[in-house]
């Protein structure tokens, strides 16, 4: 693993909401091509961890580096941290493709407009080029014919696939998925997992919070089990699912059928 | 001054003193009066209609310079604005429906509903003499509304300045329904001071000019000339 470049490096990350410490010192490095699944019970801090990586939540302590470039932080005067360079954050964010649990497609734009929005208005790609690439991506997730539909007219599964295309459109260094299927009806889960599985096969760097154990096992090369704000256990899927060591992990795997 | 003098008129029509026609031209006795004093005092005057509600603030905030609006001079008002000498003072009359017979006396109006325009000397008078004698005094924002209600039978009598009443009685509406029941007994303390031009406090220069002009047009006959067009009696009063 070590010969590959670092894609995301998180060191000693802490996050407090008021008195509640949600993350209690997490360090994790994702190398290029890694597919890391983050599992854990509800409230264990998985989403918070993912959101700290692109500064949607500002960490209380610790540091995050994207492709070797540490995000500059400063004290915010209230005993917490704050990014010191907003432009840097925006630049780094513009190459991290985030896919949300609830899709968060922009409802006032058609699917293709959603997909080209960030390339055109953030990265400055020409519109023609963005559309061409966007259409290719939509074709890839099987949504080409929905290109001019508005999100509200699509099923949940289609919306999530569109969201994935939107995230891919910025040619991201890494993709961040926060429970991409848990807002979907059971019948629609498959189509989205299929698309993500394909991405994994291409060796795209991905961090993936999920409740779908079977899927995590098949797709990830590294599993991180979060419990109460710390990494309780991590390792390759065979080890985590086949030979869990910690009691908590055993119980967790057992309970999630 | 290069600036023309802005003369405030109540935007609501008050014939025969001042009302606009469809072309926006103002006409009436007060319009001619205003023109006469302006000509006399060599003032360049323009008519500025302002709704009655806003006419005093318009004066105090210098949006207009004087008010020609049939404003009665009262001590209470003198605390806030200034007045010129009176330029007319008319008897006060009471009208009522033709079908009912009564006099314009406290006894005659007992138990009747009598309409007056709010905050006028007529209201004070009606309250003092008729209200205390068992009449109901009803306040109206404009004279027109009181007249209308009389015609509609919602009032038994209207007390107002005889001229306004006369104009109403000559209109189609008034002709059919109503007649003059007589003028009220004078009480100079209430009805006294007459109507003056409203002026900003401290604007003595203008006040002097206006007073002088009023005296002059009274003296040189202009006043009587244009008054005759409207009235067949002496509107200046005693």
């Amino acid at each position: 693993m070590t010969e590959r470049a670092e894609a995301i490096a998180v060191t000693n990350l802490h996050k407090r909401f008021g008195a509640l410490e949600v993350l209690k010192g997490i360090s994790l490095t994702a190398y290029e091509g890694d597919v890391i699944a983050i599992i854990g019970g509800s409230g264990s801090g998985k989403s918070t961890f993912l959101r700290c990586i692109n500064m949607l939540e500002v960490p209380s302590e610790g540091s995050v580096a994207i492709r070797g470039e540490p995000i500059a932080m400063k004290q915010d005067g209230l005993g917490g941290l704050a990014p010191s360079d907003r432009r840097q954050v925006q630049r780094l964010r513009s190459r991290l493709g985030m896919v949300f649990q609830s899709f968060n497609l922009w409802q006032h734009m058609t699917i293709i407009q959603n997909v080209i929005e960030a390339p055109v208005h953030v990265l400055g790609v020409s519109k023609a080029e963005a559309v061409a690439r966007g259409e290719a991506l939509l074709r890839r997730v099987g949504l080409f014919e929905k290109r001019d539909a508005y999100p509200a007219f699509l099923s949940g599964g289609q919306q999530q696939r569109a969201a994935i295309a939107r995230a891919l459109a910025i040619q991201p260094h890494a993709m961040l998925f926060d429970e991409p299927t848990s807002a979907l009806d059971p019948e629609l889960v498959g189509e989205v997992l299929g698309v993500i599985g394909d991405l994994a096969k291409e060796k795209r760097t991905m961090l993936l919070v999920t409740h779908e154990m079977k899927f995590a096992r098949n797709v990830a090369n590294h599993i991180v089990f979060l419990a109460h704000g710390v990494i309780e256990e991590q390792g390759p899927p065979e080890q985590i699912f086949g030979a869990p060591k910690s009691e908590r992990l055993k119980k967790f795997i057992h309970s999630s059928h | 001054a290069a600036e023309p003098l802005k003369v405030g008129f109540a935007a609501e029509p008050y014939p025969p003193f001042a009302s606009p026609d469809a072309a926006g031209k103002w006409e009436g006795w007060e319009v001619e009066f205003m023109q006469a004093i302006c000509a006399q005092a060599k003032l360049d005057c323009v008519i500025t209609p302002v709704a009655w509600d806003g006419i005093i603030p318009a004066l105090t905030s210098k949006k207009i310079d004087m008010i020609v609006g049939s404003m009665s001079i009262t001590p209470e008002r003198l605390k806030t604005i200034d007045f010129s000498d009176k330029y007319y003072n008319t008897p006060t009359g009471v009208i009522g429906p033709k079908s009912e017979k009564f006099d314009a006396t406290p006894a005659g109006l007992k138990g009747k509903t009598i309409g007056v325009q709010v905050a006028t000397i007529h209201q004070d008078y009606a309250n003092k003499y008729f209200g205390s004698a068992g009449a109901t005094v009803k306040e109206y924002q404009t004279q027109d509304e009181a007249n209308n209600d009389l015609a509609a039978g919602r009032l038994d009598a209207v007390q107002a300045d005889a001229i306004a009443l006369d104009a109403f009685l000559k209109s189609d509406q008034g002709k059919q329904c109503c007649e003059l029941k007589g003028n009220v007994k004078d009480d100079p303390e209430v009805l006294g001071a007459g109507v003056g031009v409203g002026l900003r406090k401290g604007d003595t220069e203008l006040k002097d000019k206006v007073n002088a002009a009023i005296k002059a047009i009274r003296a040189n006959g202009t006043y009587d000339t244009f008054s005759k067009k409207y009235f067949d009696f002496d509107i200046y009063g005693g």
Binding site: - | T80, A119, E139, A152, R154
Partner: protein, 289 residues
């Protein structure tokens, strides 16, 4: 706008906006709450406010106040009477107006819609005049009416004021109730039916209380608007607090003082209304973020 309102929007992918966000805009429920009220900047603001009040008291003329205190109090009474009377009557009308627009047969629907459009599309002042000077002056031409026992009432001004304000409130509130009725989740009504409630019972026990509760913030705003509309009755000789103040202005020719007093009176009345409504709203808590 209370966020809790929207928590239970029906099954749609996008959140639809509240039916009547305008009127939401008039809802004054969000006044600052007591707790954590005193912050340093607030103390400064209040000091500034106090000095303004002091200036107003000191530099303006208030000598007329004692003479009119009684009439002002009476005027406030008339205003409140008009307000509550017309709001209650108007609400009673608004419920069927809103309801038939949601479920009624089309002739009724059309009628209600037309009523709302016409009333909302023309100024209240015009309606008031049409009623009072128009309709009201037709009545006396019929001796039958003039001789009837109704005449003493019909020749007064207040019935016309009440009628005009009631219709206005009914039209605006009818629209609100339409939205509120339509906004009650279908499932809750269905649950009521599934438990064997008759239509009337569904309406009385579930639909109406639920709709009224949804409409409360808006209702609050509408009531404040109605409070601000009551001065119009002064133009037809009903002596409310506004008429008293205009009279003071006419008698004294003072510009600002009576108006400032009037603004203060309306602020106080509004505050009272808001507190009252807040009390009702808090009876059934909604979850807000």
């Amino acid at each position: 706008m209370s966020a809790g309102e929207k928590a239970a929007e029906p099954d749609s992918l996008v959140e639809l906006p509240p039916e009547e966000s305008t009127v939401e805009a008039t809802a004054l429920t969000r006044l600052p709450s007591g707790r954590g009220f005193l912050k340093p900047h607030r103390v400064v603001l209040m000091a500034i406010a106090a000095s303004i009040v002091f200036c107003a008291v000191w530099f303006l003329r208030w000598d007329w106040l004692p003479d009119y205190a009684g009439r002002l109090a009476h005027g406030v009474g008339v205003t409140l009477l008009m307000l509550f009377g017309t709001c209650l009557l108007g609400f009673v009308l608004a419920v069927p107006i809103g309801l038939v627009q949601v479920t009624g047969p089309w002739p009724l629907k059309l009628l209600a819609k037309g009523f709302c459009t016409i009333i909302r599309g023309t100024p209240l002042l015009l309606q008031l005049w049409l009623l009072y000077y128009g309709l009201g002056s037709l009545f006396p031409q019929f001796p039958a009416i003039r001789q009837s026992f109704l005449w003493p009432v019909l020749r007064e001004a207040w019935p016309y004021g009440v009628a005009a304000l009631t219709m206005s409130f009914a039209a605006y509130e009818g629209e609100v109730m339409r939205g509120a009725f339509a906004g009650v989740p279908k499932g809750e009504l269905e649950a009521a039916r599934a438990y064997g409630m008759s239509r009337w019972k569904v309406f009385r026990r579930i639909w109406l209380p639920r709709a009224v509760h949804r409409a409360l913030p808006t209702l609050n705003g509408e009531t404040v608007l109605q409070l601000k509309s009551t001065p119009l009755v002064a133009t037809i000789t009903v002596i409310d607090v506004y008429a008293v103040v205009s009279k003071i202005r006419q008698v004294t020719y003072l510009t600002y003082e009576p108006l400032l007093l009037l603004a203060l009176i309306y602020l106080c009345l509004t505050a009272l209304l808001v507190l009252a409504f807040r009390y009702f709203e808090n009876k059934i808590p909604t979850r807000s973020a």
